[in-house]
């Protein structure tokens, strides 16, 4: 099967084209996925910043009741998987899940290790490094952001409670959003790319086969049948037409067959005359 002319012409083209299209599609998918994730992280970062700035006043006044309400109401929003505020020691002070309150977090887990990997915790990180993706206990895919709550002049000089000026980070806000809609979009994109690759494969194989069949294989078949006919001694002036090269070959074969026929007739005549002369 692979030794046939059609296979020899189609296999390399199909293989190289499909392979290259798949590589490019994979890179395109990866690049789009990165962009979508970057967008989601940026949105989440700004959401975290909004939460921090809207709770800042209640934190400064030490109104814990108000803060619980704010965290609870944000935590019940659609798509919000968790919302926590840790203090400097890693104790969860406020959480949308009441069971988590006053629990200590493990600093080696994802989301904490990024800052706590060295002997001294990193004070500032880029937004992409503050983000983490994981599957939570409810089996939901989550994209979480940990936003540090920095010390500022108001906090250091607050009348209610006091943070020394040398303390750079007062605590951390951890917000996790469901990535269900992002995952759905990525899945749809993946399927679109698979369909695109299949279409390229079908078009390349189908197109090359159809063109080869029409322009090469069929004319060669017709030429082969014509030459077989000539070889049987059946001289037919209607040689295959359509492709210049095939036409030229057909004409040459016809000429050769006619010359052979003429030579055979001449030979026969000579033999007949010889037989008449030799009684």
């Amino acid at each position: 099967m692979f030794n046939r002319f059609a296979a020899k012409a189609i296999v390399p083209v199909t293989l190289s084209l499909t392979g290259f299209v798949i590589i490019c599609s994979l890179f395109l998918y990866s690049s789009i996925k990165k962009d979508l994730l970057k967008d989601a992280v940026q949105q989440e970062t700004s959401l975290a910043a909004t939460v921090v700035s809207s709770t800042r006043y209640t934190m400064m006044t030490g109104d814990r009741e108000q803060l619980y309400h704010i965290i609870d109401s944000i935590g019940t929003q659609k798509g919000v998987e968790h919302l926590r505020i840790f203090n400097k020691e890693g104790v969860i002070m406020f959480s949308s899940d009441p069971a988590e309150r006053n629990q200590v977090v493990d600093k080696t887990t994802a989301g904490c290790i990024e800052c706590h990997s060295g002997p001294k915790p990193t004070v500032r990180l880029g937004s992409m490094r503050l983000a983490r993706r994981f599957v939570n206990a409810k089996k939901h895919n989550v994209l979480a952001i940990t936003a540090p709550i920095y010390n500022d002049a108001h906090c250091a000089a607050g009348s209610c409670h006091f943070h020394p000026t040398r303390q750079k980070v007062l605590g951390t806000l951890d917000i996790g959003l469901s990535t269900a809609s992002l995952d759905r979009r990525l899945l749809a994109l993946r399927w679109k790319m698979v369909i695109f690759c299949l279409m390229v494969l079908i078009l390349s194989v189908g197109g090359t086969s159809a063109l080869l069949r029409h322009n090469l294989l069929n004319p060669i078949d017709r030429l082969m049948n014509y030459v077989k006919k000539l070889a049987r001694g059946d001289i037919d002036n209607d040689y295959p037409k359509g492709i210049r090269e095939v036409e030229t070959l057909g004409r040459i074969y016809l000429k050769m067959a006619k010359e052979r026929h003429k030579a055979e007739t001449k030979l026969l005549k000579v033999r007949e005359t010889d037989n008449e002369v030799k009684p």
Binding site: N3, S16, G19, I23, F27
Partner: protein
């Protein structure tokens, strides 16, 4: 492996009295057939080696010791994954064009070893930049396409040449 070179350097046909006898010619043909079959076998071995390498890459080269900080300091910062990906696309494109171009010559030599080295290089670059998991499939597909096409080219030419040699062998045995 050097069949093509031997082919190119073959001396002009000797005069009738100096031509090798049928036994010698038969042996020469058999040797050529063995060489050609060796080329096909070679291409399969290189493919197997690439699959082994890819298995290691799929496991994120966990069996290798982690790169020490000293080595990282010595090697410097890795190129960004985007740059490596651009290099991979350019490499895949050029390699495919070169292999397709080589199909016009009747070279029976398998030249997959250099591609294995390039592909291993890409795996290592992604591994060093810490992005191998994300970019494993593009390198694997690139390798599969390039080595697959090269193997097909070698198999196609070699099997054709083997058929011709076998025909000559049958003719000699008659």
């Amino acid at each position: 492996m050097f069949f093509r070179r031997q082919h190119k350097q073959s001396p002009p046909p000797a005069p009738d009295d100096q031509r090798p006898g049928p036994e010698l010619r038969r042996r020469q043909i058999e040797n050529r057939i063995r060489d050609l079959r060796g080329q096909i076998r070679h291409s399969k071995w290189w493919m197997a080696l690439f699959f082994l390498l890819s298995l290691g890459a799929a496991a994120d080269f966990r069996f290798l010791p982690p790169i020490s900080d000293q080595t990282r300091q010595f090697l410097g910062i890795s190129p960004s994954p985007t740059l490596i990906s651009i290099a991979l696309i350019i490499y895949a494109f050029s390699a495919l064009i070169l292999i397709l171009g080589r199909m016009n010559t009747s070279s029976t030599r398998f030249r997959g070893w250099s591609h294995i080295a390039y592909l291993a290089g890409f795996y290592l670059f992604y591994f060093y930049s810490g992005d191998l998991r994300e970019n494993f499939w593009p390198v694997f597909i690139a390798g599969l396409t390039i080595l697959g096409l090269e193997s097909y080219r070698v198999w196609s030419f070699c099997s054709e040449a083997i058929r011709e040699e076998e025909k000559m062998l049958k003719f000699l045995e008659r």
